[in-house]
Symmetry: C2
Subunit: 249 residues, 2 copies
């Protein structure tokens, strides 16, 4: 805003400002999303994202972190601002503008999610089934498959939260190969196959093992540990994310 001839007047009729958080985590080689089943109308029984009102003296990022901790117990997770959703009718109760955020939770912290203080149920839903037929906000995503509108079944999500989730997934996909964001979904130490599963889950398609390993090692994105993961078959070398100045590759 360059000047404000109506600065004081404009404080009337301002929309409410909220934040919503799309939390992603890996579960059984699939990307999962944290939703909270709504206990009250509107959209009772539908899935909603954790979130709430922005307080007067906090940034939206801080509000997102606070609401996430209040409603799920999660703290110290990767969190980035995503997009602001402002369709006038997106909330039937009134004008609510919401600044959506995306959070990434390491796989080994998946079960640390607690119900909110008011005991609402938080649950993990796997991605390909949770969001079908929804397009992200803004410009269409890199993987520009025109998706159909929802079918006759009841929609799963409350408000426009399906669009928010689609937007978060598009952002995650877009950043996947130009940043080290994928490591935020992995435990401190992980095998290269586990890392490959993360990439495959986010991209939604299988990727070549050799190319993947070559890339991670040649770009020095990972460093070896002396430890191995032992399981049903041949033990696998454990790696950790290499310390870097920036998430950008």
């Amino acid at each position: 805003m360059s000047t404000h001839p109506s600065f004081d007047r404009a404080r009337f009729e301002q929309p409410s400002l909220t934040v919503d958080v799309v939390v992603f985590a890996m579960r059984e080689s699939a990307l999962n999303l944290l939703v909270i089943e709504r206990g009250i109308p509107p959209f009772e029984g539908r899935w909603a994202l954790p979130g709430g009102f922005v307080l007067p003296s906090e940034t939206v990022e801080r509000a997102a972190a606070r609401e996430l901790e209040e409603e799920t117990g999660l703290r110290d997770v990767y969190l980035e601002q995503l997009y602001t959703f402002s369709m006038p009718d997106r909330d039937p109760r009134g004008r609510v503008v919401s600044v959506a955020h995306m959070a990434l939770l390491p796989a080994d912290r998946l079960d640390t999610v607690q119900g909110g203080s008011d005991a609402r149920r938080a649950e993990w839903v796997s991605i390909p089934e949770a969001i079908e037929k929804v397009e992200p906000a803004g410009l269409p995503p890199p993987g520009a498959k025109p998706r159909k509108k929802r079918d006759a079944r009841e929609p799963h999500f409350a408000f426009d939260h399906d669009v928010i989730v689609a937007t978060a997934l598009a952002r995650l996909r877009g950043k996947l190969e130009s940043t080290t964001l994928a490591f935020e979904l992995l435990p401190e130490e992980f095998t290269l196959t586990e890392a490959q599963r993360v990439y495959e889950a986010i991209l939604g398609r299988p990727i070549d093992k050799v190319t993947f390993r070559r890339r991670l090692t040649q770009l020095e994105l990972v460093e070896e540990t002396p430890r191995m993961r032992r399981g049903a078959h041949r033990p696998a070398r454990l790696y950790r994310a290499a310390p870097r100045d920036s998430v950008w590759i």
Copy 2:
């Protein structure tokens, strides 16, 4: 937001919601930015971005387009939502959250910019000189050169608009090579050298002619016209952006 135990109460103490628009255009092989010199305090005489309050029944994207037209006469330009700025003290007059947008204006429409209805001066400033020593919001940008804080001179920009501009530039750089966004800064028909200048201005470094031309033609991002641009030396083939389903490459 999953539930709203305090929905009605929260309508009090809500921040004001505004939009700001970072308009980029090419001028003499350099990337330029549209600023409006403020005529009133606070920040009188400093550069500000076009923008203003979001009206009750419009989206923020619509508000950005409306304010841009009201203040500069520009319409039908590429416009995308960028990032939301919410530091509680970013406006000394009170709590104002601003949703920043980025607009791209074709070079041949640069002189169609008109002063706003209240006759404030709009002017173009070239990028490398306008923003020095500022870091974008959110995560650091792809070109992660840690910039210094401003020096002793008076800052040029009002509010946090320097950060908004830095964020817009980072976004533009990030999308440059994975989208066809650069064409939005070019006239309908352009030479490949003109296109190269756009890429160089945005990246801030020279790029190889052969590689650049090979990429544009092999990916079929441009198509030949029968016309030539005639100037001081050898005439250059005119091209246009090839019609595509998506801006993503």
